[in-house]
């Protein structure tokens, strides 16, 4: 398993009036291809900032980040767009679906712009929405909407799937089913999945757990025995 992500001394400062906020401080770590990574930390620990940098949506104030050996932190706007388009998939806490497109069309939206998309039927079936693909977001439950969001992210066949609190807006049972789906994507499609969460219980399912506090990576450890999502309780 080769290294897919290498972060070296990443830092991000925000200027809030006269105060400088250090959202990210000297974060360095590596993520291997095919790993299920959980980035764990309380609110304000810098995990979202880190995810944005990994996703090519934001630039660090210092440090570099490489994906498959290419420095993504040096990308200009055009290359960052290409990176997001071909290499990364995003799943958000609040799904961010297009209200006037059906579930399937939301997924098609992503495949339209990818170079090597996955088969839509297969995706819809695998996320358990084969029967509901013609429904609009307003006709779907929160869990179903998050499944569409995951389907949309993976349909582009990205190397890396970044998930920002994917269960944050869901009840326990639905949250577990989403984690199961993400695990399935990780195993069956061999995608590297990075989940950021403040829920410590989820960490137990990760191959790698990166803990953050006050913008710093305080722990980066491999989990020898990750548990199945169905065993998680919170």
């Amino acid at each position: 398993m080769g290294t897919i992500i290498r972060a070296e001394g990443l830092a991000k400062d925000y200027q809030m009036g006269e105060v400088t906020v250090h959202a990210l401080v000297d974060a360095s770590f590596e993520i291997n291809e095919g790993e299920f990574v959980v980035i764990l930390g309380p609110s304000g620990s810098g995990k979202s900032t880190l995810l944005n940098i990994l996703g090519g949506m934001d630039r660090p104030s210092a440090g570099q980040c490489y994906m498959e050996g290419t420095e993504i932190t040096a990308f200009d706007d055009r290359r960052a767009t290409e990176y997001r388009r071909y290499k990364v998939g995003f799943v958000f806490q609040f799904y961010n679906l297009m209200a006037n497109l059906t579930a399937r069309e939301n997924v098609e939206l992503a495949t339209e712009i990818s170079e090597d998309p996955l088969d839509i039927e297969m995706i819809m079936e695998s996320v358990g929405l084969g029967e509901r693909e013609g429904h609009f977001p307003s006709q779907l439950s929160g869990g179903e909407q998050q499944r569409v969001s995951i389907a949309r992210a993976i349909a582009k066949n990205p190397k890396l799937l970044l998930c920002d609190e994917p269960t944050g807006a869901l009840d326990f049972k639905t949250g577990i089913s989403i984690l199961e789906l993400l695990k399935k994507v990780n195993c069956e499609l061999n995608m590297t999945v990075v989940v950021i969460t403040h829920n410590a219980d989820i960490a137990s399912m990760g191959d790698r757990v990166i803990r953050m506090r006050s913008g710093e990576v305080i722990e980066n450890k491999l989990n020898d025995s990750p548990i199945d999502p169905s065993e998680i309780r919170w």
């Binding site: 979202s48 944005n52 996703g55 949506m57 934001d58 706007d77 055009r78 767009t81 290409e82 990176y83 997001r84 388009r85 071909y86 990364v88 995003f90 958000f92 806490q93 609040f94 961010n96 679906l97 297009m98 209200a99 006037n100 497109l101 059906t102 069309e105 098609e108 939206l109 992503a110 339209e112 712009i113 990818s114 609009f136 977001p137 307003s138 006709q139 909407q145 949309r152 582009k156 807006a169």
Partner: protein, 796 residues
């Protein structure tokens, strides 16, 4: 400043582009309103005070000859307060003014003046306003020149003018420059609807000097009358009948009431047009500004659910929150209102001066009427408050708790086009998305569609205006009356006189006699005074066509009438009209309307020349002719003939047309810009609102890997679908606008026939598209500045 008001100013700062765009639309509406309304009021005031102070005649009547004694009898008619006689006659102006001698030959050759006498001592009707110089001294060959002529030719007191009277050149000393209420709009009756002050003017002289010169010693050929105040309509009718009966004996050409007097009629028509436009145009702009505002506010309230919830949670009432947002619209009203009212006032001042100059109205002082400013403020405030209330009604529905939760997705629906499977399948995915987005917010789509429609309609209307003018004075006139010269004699002459003309003028290619005489046509209660033209059946100098383009020939019996005449008399082909000659003693007769022909300028009826001469002149006579000739001296040669009273040439009308075209082009450019501002504001604001509403959606697309350009193209595609719809809808709208305007703006002097062909539509379309492209390009900045991370994070 209250904190809530600080928030208001920050809201304005965040939306400054939209705030400015909607304020500009509002300001343009008010500029139209103020400038037109105020200049119309100024002109009305100026006109009536000029009329009052200089006793503009209520009735005037041209006659063959009438004596002082007979005028005193007219004065005795019940309802007449005063009557005066004067002598008028049109003569060639051979030379005069500092620029007079150096002008081109054709210009000088066609120059004429109307000599108008004033009474010994002081005239009490149509008094003259001496603008510079002094009154002519009795017993000397001294005259006054009308201001328009003096300005155009550079004539100053102390100069002299040379007139041709009775075949002789005579010099007159210009003692002064004067104005008169009857010639504020100075029009050569032979030459059309535009003043040509260099070649037509008025020379005033004492009647003791004028009477013998014009061959009427001790007599008059025109009677001016003032009515007694407070006459009822019935008394007026009786009085008019009596005047016509009495003056009929002296060869009356028909009494002309003040409202029909040409200068006054043109003036009133201009004021009416201004007033009509002062209502119609601003309403379009104000309504659109209000709609944009309502949409903006609706969007703001929706976006601000959380802050509204917080405010309500803190204890603000719905009314207070609504007031907070309505203040936004009031500030738009203040900005747009202040700009609109002040620019409108400034423009009104400029327009009034321009009109006063154009109509030769002396500036007798004008008051700044603050009521119009108040009206503008109230109109702007009213429209904005209503728009604000309409846009913020959603505030009431926001509950403090509800506002803290995340929006559930809007219900998605299939669009109608999806049911048309073959069409839907043929669309690309992004095409499908664009169509779906168009139908997502139908109201907004409809608003943009309407904006594009109105803009296109206005553009097509504006670019069609030159074709209308060309119709009246340019190519249209040449096609309708393909003649080089139109010549009138002082008296009817035997037709054989025409045989002499080729001996006087070289290179005569065609010549035809005409009979022309004033008539009154009536049908039921409707009547119209006009000039009847008698022509040869197979005349080559007129091309008669009806609106459908079918050719018409002069009938053996009966009349051809212009479409305006038919409309005024409410008659159709086959109907009979009563025909009354003003100069012949023959009994009224009934004639059949055999055809209705399209005529852009003037009001006429046409009949067979032979029949007309036999019935109303003397058999075998004519009183003028039409001629085509390449002789460059033709005009001068014809004017030298003592029997000729006037010569007009198509060339001179075309020259006036060229001058007018320049003014027209400036106006068209101005109107195009204003129409464009409207289209720009609508498309810009609606698109910005749309982008604002879909910030999260576009941010998701950015995260998915869409570039800014691709998102912008997505919006463009949506707007393009609506724009195409708007342009298609704009075609019939433009057509309706053209027809409506043709109807509204047609007058007795000219029939407007606004029409747009493929070229006008293409031009209107091109101009519309240019402004829409500008508007869309301006929205690209918003996409550039889209902070997609913030949009995605700030959901809870």
């Amino acid at each position: 400043m209250k904190t809530i008001d600080k928030r208001l100013f920050r809201m304005i700062s965040d939306t400054k582009g939209q705030f400015a765009a909607v304020s500009v639309v509002l300001a343009v509406g008010l500029i139209f309103f103020m400038s037109m309304r105020v200049s119309a009021a100024n002109m009305t005031q100026g006109m009536y005070s000029f009329y009052d102070r200089f006793s503009f005649a209520d009735i005037s009547c041209e006659v063959e000859q009438v004596s002082s004694r007979q005028i005193r009898m007219i004065e005795a008619i019940d309802g007449i307060a005063a009557a005066e006689g004067r002598v008028t006659g049109t003569v060639p102006l051979l030379d005069g003014g500092r620029d007079g001698g150096s002008g081109d030959v054709a210009g000088d050759a066609r120059a004429r003046v109307k000599i108008v006498t004033y009474g010994n001592g002081v005239s009490s009707i149509n008094k003259l306003m001496l603008e510079s110089g002094s009154w002519p001294e009795a017993g000397r060959r001294e005259v006054l020149a009308i201001r328009q002529l003096a300005d155009a030719r550079g004539i100053r007191p102390g100069d002299s003018v040379r007139l041709q009277i009775g075949g002789q050149g005579m010099d007159f000393y210009v003692a002064g420059i004067a104005s008169s209420p009857e010639f504020v709009y100075l029009l050569d009756p032979e030459q059309g609807i535009m003043p040509d002050n260099r070649n037509y003017g008025i020379i005033y002289m004492d009647e003791a000097l004028g009477q013998p010169l014009l061959g009427l010693p001790g007599a008059y050929n025109e009677v001016l009358m003032l009515e007694s105040p407070g006459l009822s309509a019935e008394q007026r009718d009786r009085m008019a009948d009596e005047i016509e009966r009495q003056l009929g004996r002296y060869g009356s050409h028909g009494a002309v009431l003040q409202e029909n007097q040409i200068s006054n009629a043109m003036m009133r028509e201009e004021i009416n047009q201004l007033n009509r436009m002062a209502m119609a145009l601003p309403i379009v702009f104000l309504l659109i500004a209000a709609m944009i505002l309502a949409m903006m506010l609706g969007r703001m309230v929706k976006k601000d659910r959380q802050p509204i919830g917080i405010m309500k949670g803190l204890g603000y009432s719905s009314a207070q929150v609504i007031a907070h947002y309505v203040k936004y619209t009031l500030l738009v009203a203040a900005a747009g209102g202040a700009a609109g009212a002040s620019l409108g006032m400034w423009l009104a001042g400029w327009m009034t001066s321009y009109y006063m100059e154009f109509f030769n109205l002396p500036d007798l002082g004008r008051d700044l009427d603050y009521r119009y400013i108040l009206a503008a403020v109230l109109i702007a405030g009213g429209f904005c408050v209503v728009a604000g209330l309409a846009g913020t009604r959603g505030v009431v529905r926001v509950l403090p708790t509800e506002s803290m939760t995340v929006d559930s997705p809007k219900a998605g629906k299939r669009v109608l086009l999806e049911r048309v499977r073959p069409v839907w399948r043929s669309l690309s995915f992004s095409g499908k998305m664009a169509v779906k987005n168009v139908f997502r917010n139908k109201k907004r789509a409809l608003f943009i569609l309407m904006g594009v429609t109105v803009t296109f309609g206005m553009m097509a209307f504006v670019v069609a205006m030159p074709s209308m003018i060309s119709d009246m004075m340019g190519d249209g006139l040449k096609e309708f009356q393909p003649m080089d010269y139109n010549v009138s004699f002082r008296q009817p002459v035997p037709e054989r006189v025409l045989n002499e003309i080729p001996h006087i003028v070289d290179d005569v290619q065609a010549i035809e006699g005409k009979a022309e005489s004033p008539f009154r046509l009536s049908s039921g209660n409707h009547e119209i005074a006009l000039t009847m033209v008698g022509l040869e059946k197979s005349t080559i100098f007129y091309n008669f066509r009806d609106k459908a383009g079918r050719r018409h020939q002069i009938p053996e019996t009966g009349l051809l009438v212009s479409d305006y005449v038919a409309k005024k008399l409410r008659v159709g082909v086959g109907d009979k009209v009563r025909v009354h000659s003003y100069i012949s003693d023959s009994e009224d007769s009934w004639m059949e309307v055999r055809g209705i022909v399209y005529q852009a300028m003037g009001v006429n009826a046409y009949m067979d020349k032979g029949a007309m001469a036999a019935e109303y002149l003397s058999p075998g006579t004519i009183n003028g002719f039409f001629m085509n000739s390449d002789d460059p001296e033709a005009m001068a040669k014809l004017k030298e003939l003592p029997a000729v009273s006037s010569v007009s040439s198509l060339e001179s009308i075309s020259e006036t047309f060229q001058e007018y075209t320049q003014v027209m082009n400036a106006m068209i450019f101005f109107m195009l810009i204003l129409s464009g501002v409207l289209g720009f504001a609508i498309v810009y604001n609606a698109t910005i609102i749309s982008i604002g509403e879909r910030e999260t959606e576009f941010s998701s697309l950015r995260v998915l890997g869409f570039s800014r350009g691709e998102i912008f193209r997505l919006i463009l595609r949506e707007n393009n679908i609506i724009t195409v719809g708007g342009l298609l809808a704009g075609l019939p709208v433009a057509n309706i606008l053209l027809r409506y305007s043709s109807e509204v703006f047609s007058t007795e002097q000219y029939t407007m026939h606004l029409r747009a062909g493929p070229a006008e539509y293409a031009l209107g379309l091109g101009a519309t598209v240019v402004f829409i492209v500008f508007a869309q390009a301006a929205t690209y900045r918003k996409i550039q500045k889209l902070d997609f991370m913030a949009a995605l994070k700030n959901r809870a």
